[in-house]
C-alpha cells in the first residue's frame, strides 16, 4: 500500500492510539467483541502515566456522576486479577482524609449524608480522639477530625498493564511500540486510515487514549480541540520498612498524601501549585523538601526513613476534572476518545474502556457514560467536582 509512508501496512477494525492502561484495555475489550485492533504507542507500553501513578483507587468523589461511575469502575478494577491472570495485588486499606478546618469536615459530612450514604458507600467521620486511637502514628496537632473511606484501596499498576497487554496479544491485538502517530486519514468525513512513523493501518475507527498527550495529538491529526492539559506531579518512594501506615493518608490542607505499599515502601507526595504543560520528567528541590518536611510533621516516626527514589508524571486535566469518553457528532465518523481522567485513569479506565468498546461495537451509549461525553465542553454542561485528590 503506497499511500502510507509506513513500512508495515495493515488493515484493522480499529486503531488505538496510546498503550497505557486505558488504551490496552480498550484494545482488549474491542478484541473480545471480535474487532481486529492495532495499538500504536509512541514510546514503550505503559511509559506515560500508567506506570508513574501512586496506585490507589477510591469510590468517593465529590459529585454523583463520578461517584456512581467509580462504584462500578472499582468493582471492575477489583475483579481484574481473575480476568487478566495477573495478580493486581489489591488491598483495601481505605482512604483517610485529615481535616484541619471545621467547614471542611462539615462539607464531608454533607457529602456523606447526601451522596455517599444513599449510594451505599458511607464513610466514617472520625473525631480527633478516634483518629488518635485508630492511627496512633499521626500527629493530630491542629486537626479537627478525619474522614475514613474503608471502600478505597491500592493496586499494583505494572501487573495490570502487563495483564491487559498479554491478554490483548492473546486475542490477536497488534501492539507497536516506538510508533508515533503522524496523521489520521479522513475521507467524506469518515476515518479511513491511521499512519505512524512506521505503520500504516487502513481502518474505520480510531480511539484516542493517549492520556496527557490526547489534546495535543487530536489537535495535530484532526484539528479537534479537546481541553485535556498535562500537569506534572512529582512523587517519591522510600526504602521498604515494616508495616507502619495501614491506610492511605491525605492531608486535605497541605495536599500531602502518603501510603505504604505491600512491599513496605512508603509512597507519597505533596501537591504544589504549578506544573502545567509538558515539563520534563524531573524533580525539584522545592518539592522534595516540602514533601519531607510535611511528612515528618504529620508522622514524626518517618523521620529516619530514607527516600530511595523520586520521579514525576503527568495528570491529564480537563476543566471539570472528569474524563471524556465517546465521540462528538461534529467529529469525523469513527473518531472516539477516552482520556482526560485528571488523575483517575487507572481506577476508572478499565471500566470506561469496556463501556466505550461496547459503544464502538454496538452503538449503545450506557446511561452512566452520558455525563462524560465530549459535547459537554461545547455546551458548557460541565461536571461539578468538589473533591479532587
Amino acid at each position: 500500500m503506497s499511500e502510507g509512508r509506513g513500512l508495515i501496512s495493515l488493515t484493522a477494525d480499529a486503531v488505538v492510539i496510546g498503550a497505557g492502561i486505558v488504551g490496552l484495555a480498550v484494545a482488549y475489550y474491542l478484541a473480545r467483541r471480535g474487532f481486529s485492533v492495532v495499538v500504536l504507542e509512541k514510546s514503550y507500553v505503559g511509559s506515560g502515566s500508567s506506570t508513574r501513578n501512586a496506585g490507589r483507587y477510591r469510590v468517593h468523589f465529590g459529585n454523583r456522576e463520578n461517584t456512581e461511575f467509580a462504584i462500578r469502575a472499582i468493582r471492575k478494577l477489583e475483579s481484574l486479577s481473575g480476568e487478566l491472570g495477573w495478580n493486581g495485588v489489591f488491598e483495601r486499606a481505605g482512604y483517610l482524609w485529615l481535616t484541619r478546618r471545621r467547614e471542611v469536615i462539615n462539607n464531608y459530612e454533607k457529602l456523606n449524608e447526601q451522596l455517599w450514604k444513599p449510594l451505599g458507600i458511607p464513610v466514617q467521620i472520625l473525631t480527633v480522639e478516634e483518629l488518635r486511637d485508630r492511627f496512633p502514628y499521626i500527629n493530630t496537632q491542629g486537626m479537627v477530625g478525619a474522614v475514613f473511606g474503608p471502600q478505597d484501596g491500592a493496586f499494583h499498576h505494572d501487573y495490570l498493564v502487563m495483564g491487559y497487554y498479554e491478554r490483548a496479544l492473546d486475542l490477536g491485538v497488534k501492539v507497536f511500540e516506538y510508533s508515533e502517530v503522524k496523521s489520521v486519514g479522513v475521507e467524506n468525513s469518515k476515518v479511513v486510515s491511521v499512519s505512524s512513523n512506521d505503520v500504516f493501518v487502513k481502518t474505520k475507527n480510531v480511539v484516542f487514549t493517549a492520556g496527557a498527550w490526547t489534546g495535543e495529538i487530536m489537535k495535530k491529526t484532526l484539528n479537534i480541540d479537546i481541553p485535556i492539559k498535562p500537569v506534572r506531579r512529582e512523587i517519591g518512594i522510600t526504602e521498604s520498612v515494616k508495616p507502619i501506615i495501614n491506610t492511605y493518608i491525605i492531608d486535605a490542607e497541605t495536599n500531602l498524601y502518603l501510603g505504604q505499599t505491600m512491599r513496605g515502601e512508603i509512597l507519597g507526595s505533596i501537591e504544589l501549585d504549578g506544573g502545567e504543560g509538558f515539563l520534563p520528567y524531573g524533580n525539584t528541590f522545592t518539592w522534595l523538601t516540602a514533601w519531607a518536611r510535611e511528612t515528618v510533621k504529620l508522622i514524626p516516626s518517618l523521620g529516619r526513613i530514607r527516600i530511595m527514589r523520586i520521579w514525576s508524571g503527568y495528570y491529564e486535566m480537563t476543566p471539570d476534572h472528569s474524563h471524556v469518553m465517546g465521540r462528538s457528532s461534529t467529529w469525523p465518523e469513527g473518531v472516539y476518545v477516552l482520556s482526560g481522567f485528571s488523575g483517575h485513569g487507572f481506577m476508572l479506565g478499565p471500566y470506561a474502556a469496556e463501556l466505550l468498546a461496547n459503544y464502538i461495537v454496538n452503538g449503545v451509549i450506557d446511561p452512566i457514560m452520558k455525563p462524560f461525553l465530549p459535547d459537554r465542553f461545547a455546551t458548557g454542561n460541565l461536571i461539578k467536582e468538589l473533591l479532587v485528590i
Binding site: 498479554e166 492473546d170 515528618v296 523521620g303 520521579w311
Partner: protein, 473 residues
Amino acid sequence: MAGLSVAEELNKLGLKVVIVEGEHYLGGHLIIDDTEIKDLGCGSEFIGKLSKEISDSVTVLTGVIFDGFLEDAVIGHSRDFSRLYTFNYKYLILAQGFREVPLIFPGNNTPRMITGLTMLKLTKWWGFKPRRVLVWGSDDWAVRVAMNLIQTGIEVYLGDNSVTIRSDLYRDRVDALGIKTFIGMNIVDAKDSSEGLRLVLENIRGKKAKRQRREEVVVDVLVSAVRVPVIDLPAQLNAPIVYAPEIGGLVPRRGFTGDLGLGNAYVIGDAGGLLPEHLIVRQARVTALSIGAMEDLVTKDAFDKELVDFKRDLVTTNSSYYNVILRFEQGLQGSGYYAEPNVVHAPMWATAGSIEDVENALKSANRQYLCFCEDVTLNDVLRSINVLMHGKEIKVRVLHGEEEEYKSLRLPGMERIKRVVGLGTGPCQGKLCLINTNLILSFIYQKKPSEFGLPRIRFPEASIPMATLAGGE
C-alpha cells in the same frame, strides 16, 4: 585517585576546588592497596602524598554523599544524615571510579561472596583471616587484590573465565607469587557447607576445548574483583551510556578530556572507562588544562600540547583505549555514530566465559541470582522476556546473529523487564544488577547492549532520610 589528581591540577591553575567524598577517607580503593603500581609505587603511599599536597588549598568534604541533580538544586548529604548540602559550581568532575559487582553463577546466593575492596578492608583493617580464598577476575585490579591477600598469608586462588590473565601489567606477578590459577574456567556449581563454599569449575568452551579440566575447590570466601565503571551520575544527567568492552563495558560516552558533552560536566578515571593508574594521572592533567584553557588560565597551546602528549602515550601504551575514545569523539568514520560491538564476554557471568557455554549455563538459570535486593534470578528475567515477547520463540544463533529476521527482532527493553520482575527496584536501586543483567542478556541474545538499554537511573544516588531533607524545623 583520579579525583585527587584533577583537584591538584585545577588547584595549581588557581581554581577554587571542592572535593566531595562519600567515604571518611580519601583515595578510594588505593588507600588499602599495598602493591607496587606501575610508575606510581605503592598505592597507599601515593595517595598519602597526594592527599597531603592538596590538604592546604583544596576544600575537602569527607563523609558527604553527592546525591545528584534536581531541577533547582544539586545536593548532597552527610553520611551521619545531620547535614544537607547544596552545591553551586561552574564545572563538575565526576571521578567515582569503579564498582565491583556480584558474580553470577549457580548457587551465587551465598554470603561467602564479597567484593575485593570489602575483602581487603576486612583483612587489613578488621583482622579477618580466612584460610583460603578464590579471587575472581584477572584485570589489573583483580590481580592486585590477589597480590594483597597473599601478602597477608592467605592461600589465594585466582580465577577467571577469560582465555588468559587479562592484566598485561601484572600477569607475570601471578606465577612469581605462587598464586594458583583457574584461568579459562567457569564456575558451574556452588554449594555452601560448614567447611566453606564448595565450587565446581570446568574449562570454558565445554567439549570443544582442546584441554578438558574439571576442578573442585572449597574456599572460605569467593572474592569478586570484577569491576564496572560507576555510571550512575552521568546517567542521572542523561549522558549517553554506551558499550565499549576495551574499557570496562558500559561507560558514558565522552571525549579525551572527559567532557560529557553537557557543557560543564566531565568524567575522569575509571568512572569513564577502566584505565591503568599512571595514565589516570595524565588524564587528570588534560581535563584540568582543558578547563584552564576555557577559563583563560592557560594558553590554548599549552592545553593542546598536553592533549597531544597524552594521546601519543595512549597510542603507544594503550592503543585500544585510544581507539575507543577516538570513536566516541568522532563516531563511525567521522559520522558521529558510535557503533557498539557485540558482547562476546560478560566478565561477571562466571558460569559462561564463551558463547559455547551459554546453553549449558542457562540450564541452571534458576539458581543464578541477578538482583540480590529483590531475589530475581536469571531464569525470572528470561521468563519475563518470554512473556513480553508473547511466547515468540527466539532462536539464539550463536554464529549467525546477523541474519535479517533476527536483526529486526526487537526484544523488550530493560525498563519493561524491570517492571515485570522488579529487578533493580530494591534498596540499591540497580547499582549491583542493572549492568550485569544488560551485559548477560546482550551476550545470550547476541544483541547490542543499547537495544536492551538501562532503566532510568534516578535521584538520589544514595537514599536520604526524610528528616535530613526536612531540616531542623
